[in-house]
């Protein structure tokens, strides 16, 4: 690991940590309906929306009505994305004349974007019209993230309130998340990205004359079915355009991750410079990290928020350095081929297959860890071509349940489920009724939290097992051997935890994968929100218990260690066997002489 590479990761962590308090504080004000400096501009818009919706911003609901609102609202989002894709051929803003998307692929993409997964079974620049990118995909980038943040805020209210049935109003929480948090940050980021070269235009694609025209050999079948090679002259290059910057900004900030172009943020028009790369990677973790502070402020003890933040960071940093070191070490299978993989001032070295020169190893490895720690799933390098251990870490970060920062809102509510399980286990150890943030944790909460923890594990393992057992699953695999299994495991890990990144070699745009992964994404997103909201309702109804000498403090290093232990234990015990069949075997094969 080069010193400059280590510094890039260290500076990232420092800048992120410095932003946690100011943004977290701001978001707490927004969610509690306090005045902020944006209120004079956005207040009238906010009130206008409530008036047309017929909502009283002051009226709150029970957890059940909150859950119905979340589900209904996201179902609408799903239908909108589905229908717009099917109809895009007849809709405006389609300069490339793309036809409507095939139904199973459209179903997959609609679930994917409504569930904040943003798995992509399609190539953006060759499939989606500008209309679809803006009015279907960009919109869901905002609204699915805002839905996650709203559910988190409802859960926090459950901890903060006592003896009430009310946990908030979904439409108010969701609207405020969108208007005051996601929209201004996206506007700033989008403009910064345009300044770096990210395209933002409604023109049709351009065609450039190549400096050196060339020929390619293509295989064509003649009338009798025999294959013949044909020379084809290539003298031009398509230069794709579109309203990309506006979508990329929210794709990063809302932990969405669905790229405008096929290769996501590896595309030079999606991520042109080291500066755009730093801003984009920072944007992935910004909101999930700052929400920890928001949580602390809303439960009136910021130490609680910092404790959760510390647990996340302590899990994240060693894993990020792990990817960096595995990728920098390069591929021993290439050592005898006359190549130079050692890093120097003159070149990045390491495993450069699937990586871009402007990012080299450090910026690519940091991104891989960040995007899978958060449930973002955008990529700036191709994870399928990572070394076995470099690919294992992103997979495992997702398998931890997307709670190490995780999705906007969903990451922290997932982590708070782990906190509930952690105090429960601690309570068992010392023989006391577990408490968290002044609330007694009883059988109901532990049951619901266990559901949230275990459901994604079941989805991932059952899905992978199914895919490995049937030809519809295995025939999509691109790489031979253990790596092929890793491709399937990665796909269900990504969908089953709403991440959206992929080992891209897997041909996932097939009926089996479109449907199976669509179902996985749907279950892991919405079936988890219901138990989380149930806990919010149950906690809000409870009275506060007095803090005594026997209360386990939950802001101390001891509790942080306990929380980390539970997260890692569940993740390791559940997934080690599957990982052993994929990346671990491949690693041993790669370093072995055989």
């Amino acid at each position: 690991m080069s010193l400059l590479g280590v510094m890039q990761i260290a500076i990232f962590a420092v800048v992120l940590t410095a932003l946690v308090k100011p943004l977290g504080d701001f978001m707490a004000k927004v969610f509690q309906g306090e005045r902020t400096w944006l209120t004079p501009v956005l207040g009238p818009v906010e009130r206008g929306i409530y008036r047309l919706c017929g909502i009283d911003a002051g009226s709150e609901t029970s957890w059940k009505r909150y859950a119905i609102a979340v589900l209904l609202f996201n179902l609408l989002g799903f239908f909108a994305v589905f229908v717009i894709q099917l109809a895009q051929g007849a809709l405006p803003l389609n300069p490339q004349g793309f036809a409507g998307v095939e139904a199973k692929s459209a179903f997959n993409t609609a679930v994917s974007f409504a569930s904040n997964t943003n798995w992509q079974g399609y190539g953006g620049e060759s499939t989606m019209s500008y209309f679809t990118q803006m009015l279907a995909l960009t919109v869901q980038n905002f609204l699915s993230a805002a839905s996650g943040m709203a559910v988190l805020v409802a859960l926090i209210r459950g901890f903060a309130r006592r003896q009430t049935q009310q946990i908030g109003n979904f439409y108010v929480d969701m609207t405020r998340s969108t208007l005051y948090v996601l929209l201004p940050l996206s506007l700033l980021l989008a403009l910064a990205l345009v300044s770096q070269g990210v395209v933002q235009s409604f023109s049709e694609y351009r065609t450039a004359d190549l400096v050196e025209p060339g020929t390619i050999q293509t295989t064509v079948k003649d009338a009798s079915g025999d294959a013949a090679t044909k020379q084809e002259q290539i003298a031009q290059q398509t230069i794709p355009l579109g309203p990309a910057a506006s979508q990329i900004a929210i794709k990063q900030l809302g932990t969405n991750g669905g790229g405008f172009f096929n290769v996501n943020s590896a595309h030079p028009f999606e991520n042109p410079t080291p500066l755009s790369n730093f801003l984009e990677v920072l944007a992935i973790l910004l909101i999930p990290a700052a929400l920890c502070y928001t949580f602390g402020r809303m439960v009136r003890d910021t130490r609680q928020g910092w404790a959760v933040y510390a647990a996340m960071m302590i899990i994240f940093l060693p894993l990020a350095f792990g990817v960096f070191s595995a990728e920098q070490a390069g591929n021993p299978r290439l050592d005898t081929l006359g190549v130079d993989q050692a890093s120097s001032q003159m070149h990045p070295g390491g495993n450069m297959e699937g990586k871009e020169v402007r990012f080299g190893i450090a910026s690519s490895a940091l991104w891989a860890a960040v995007t899978t720690a958060a449930s973002n799933g955008s990529v700036n390098s191709m994870h399928d071509s990572y070394t076995p251990l470099g690919g294992l870490v992103p997979m495992w970060l997702m398998q931890l349940g997307e709670v190490v920062f995780g999705g906007a809102g969903s990451g922290l509510y997932g982590m708070l489920m782990f906190a509930i399980v952690a105090v429960f286990i601690a309570g068992l150890m010392v023989g006391r009724t577990p408490e968290y943030l002044g609330k007694k944790i009883e059988a109901y909460e532990v049951k619901m939290a266990s559901l949230v923890l275990l459901l994604p594990c079941v989805v991932v393992l059952v899905g992978t097992a199914l895919a490995s057992a049937i030809p519809e699953g295995t025939s999509s695999v691109a790489n031979p051997g253990a790596h092929g299994f890793s491709e399937m495991l990665y796909a269900f890990t990504s969908a089953g935890n709403n991440n959206g990144s992929a080992f891209g070699g897997l041909s996932a745009n097939t009926p089996f994968y479109n449907l199976a992964l669509g179902v996985a994404m749907w279950i892991s997103r919405f079936w988890l929100m219901i138990p989380v909201l149930a806990i919010a309702g149950s906690l809000a109804a409870k009275r506060n218990v007095a803090i005594t000498a026997g209360t386990l403090p939950t802001h101390t290093p001891l509790f942080v260690a306990m929380l980390i232990g539970v997260v890692l234990m569940v993740g390791a015990l559940t997934f080690l066997p599957a990982l052993a069949l994929g990346p671990i075997v491949e690693h041993l094969q790669m370093i072995g002489k055989g």
Binding site: L183, Q196, E212, G330, V339, E353, E356, R358, G504
Partner: protein, 191 residues
């Protein structure tokens, strides 16, 4: 039905705000303040559009510097369908491809038996990578100078012009823009 109205109306209104107003505002400001960047950082030669400074082009003539191998289909550097190879590290096809690329480079410059910088023989993530490392450029200097019958020092000076350092000395990697370098070799500027 009381549940349906807020869901529908808020969805429609927020679709207008985030799906129409927001992209239009970004487009308006972007086109006004950063017109070249917002439109693809295009390079013209007279009236002809000859590329983008951010999108690499395929080069195979030894008088030009070569960029990264590109895995896009059907032709390399296909701007209409970005793609990496997605070959795994133990896939025999990956080792074979790299072996063939090393052999092809050495065949064009038999005197140069130095190890080939890895970025010059591995496919980029996008298939459109406009850059190679300074080491990969230096590896090709002797060949380009010989084929063009120009002194190496002259070629090196052009490489230096097309080289960008790390941002703030820390972020990213030093890199050489292959298209701009090859245009400079032909005596064209990227106007």
């Amino acid at each position: 039905m009381s549940e349906l109205r807020p869901a529908l109306v808020s969805f429609l209104l927020l679709t207008i705000v985030t799906g129409v107003v927001y992209p239009l505002v970004v487009t308006g400001i972007g086109q006004a303040v950063f017109p070249s960047a917002a439109n693809g950082s295009l390079i013209h030669d007279g009236d002809a559009l000859i590329g983008s400074r951010l999108i690499g082009q395929p080069f195979s003539d030894p008088r030009y510097f070569f960029g990264r191998p590109s895995a896009t289909a059907p032709q390399p550097y296909n701007g209409a369908a970005s793609s990496g190879s997605n070959q795994g590290p133990t896939n025999p096809a990956l080792a074979q491809a790299i072996k063939d690329r090393v052999a092809a480079l050495r065949a064009l410059d038999p005197a140069n038996q130095a190890p080939v910088p890895i970025d010059l023989v591995t496919a980029s993530g996008s298939g459109l990578d406009p850059h190679i490392s300074p080491a990969a450029a230096e590896y090709q200097v002797a060949r380009v100078a010989r084929v063009r019958n120009r002194p190496e020092s002259e070629i090196r000076a052009l490489v230096k012009q097309a080289t960008e350092g790390r941002t703030l000395g820390i972020f990213g990697e030093p890199r050489v823009n292959v298209l701009l370098l090859n245009l400079a070799l032909d005596g064209k500027s990227a106007g």
